[in-house]
């Protein structure tokens, strides 16, 4: 099914381990985003990318790394997972259209750091 997908959907890891969350979109959208969703905070932007090889930090980027070697993929890596990174992670993409253009969200990845 075309669209935006995330893998894995669920992940349990231990403190200190490296974890990579995958995001793939089939629309060739220029913009891609990573958010984390936490109770009481809503969604907060971690990183975003305007095009392949162009990335920039969001509001809560500490402890995370991204890459975008191909337009369709935007993996998010937790270099050394901490308990505070237990969250639900959403990837999103958006076309280059007018400013009112919406973002399309993936199904999310639930990450538990023990």
């Amino acid at each position: 099914d075309a669209g935006i997908t995330q893998s894995p959907r669920y992940k349990i890891t231990e403190t200190g381990r490296q974890v990579t969350l995958m995001c793939h979109q089939t629309w060739s959208h220029s913009y891609m985003f990573w958010y984390r969703q936490d109770l009481g905070h809503g969604l907060r932007l971690i990183y975003y990318s305007a095009a392949a090889d162009i990335t920039d930090k969001g509001e809560v980027s500490d402890g995370y790394v991204v890459s975008r070697s191909k337009t369709e993929n935007f993996p998010l890596t937790l270099e050394s997972a901490t308990r505070s990174q237990t969250s639900v992670y959403f990837c999103a993409s958006r076309s280059e259209g007018p400013v009112q253009e919406t973002q399309y969200f993936g199904p999310g990845t639930r990450l538990l750091v023990l």
């Binding site: 913009y31 809503g42 932007l45 969001g58 999103a92 969200f105 999310g108």
Partner: protein, 109 residues
């Protein structure tokens, strides 16, 4: 500072009652505002955007620049409206969104 505030974490109403989910924003420029909805175990999806002045699933939202608000309204709530609702502000053409904390709408039978 750019900020979106949704003052209610939970709004509980009975089926058929009117609903108003509050959203206030702080932004010095011309805002682009959206409402997103997340039904149980589903991904976030756009509900409506202020520029379209549309009504989706019976919901409407009017931008009030004087009060810096973008409240979401529906005259008669349905049980299937139960979900988490997020108000979001877009401040540039990069598409970065600033989300409010979210309001859970619970519609009781």
């Amino acid at each position: 500072a750019q900020r979106v505030t949704q003052p209610e974490k939970l709004l509980s109403v009975f089926k058929g009652a009117p609903v108003e989910l509050k959203c206030n924003y702080s932004y010095s420029g011309s805002p682009e505002l959206f409402w997103y909805v997340q039904y149980s175990r589903q991904r976030l999806q756009l509900l409506l955007r202020h520029i379209s002045r549309e009504s989706i699933k019976g919901f409407t939202a009017d931008l009030n620049k004087g009060e810096t608000s973008f409240h979401l309204k529906k005259p008669f709530a349905q049980e299937e409206d139960s979900a988490m609702y997020y108000c979001a502000l877009q401040t540039s053409n990069t598409g970065k969104l600033i989300f409010g904390q979210g309001t859970t709408l619970q519609v009781k039978p």
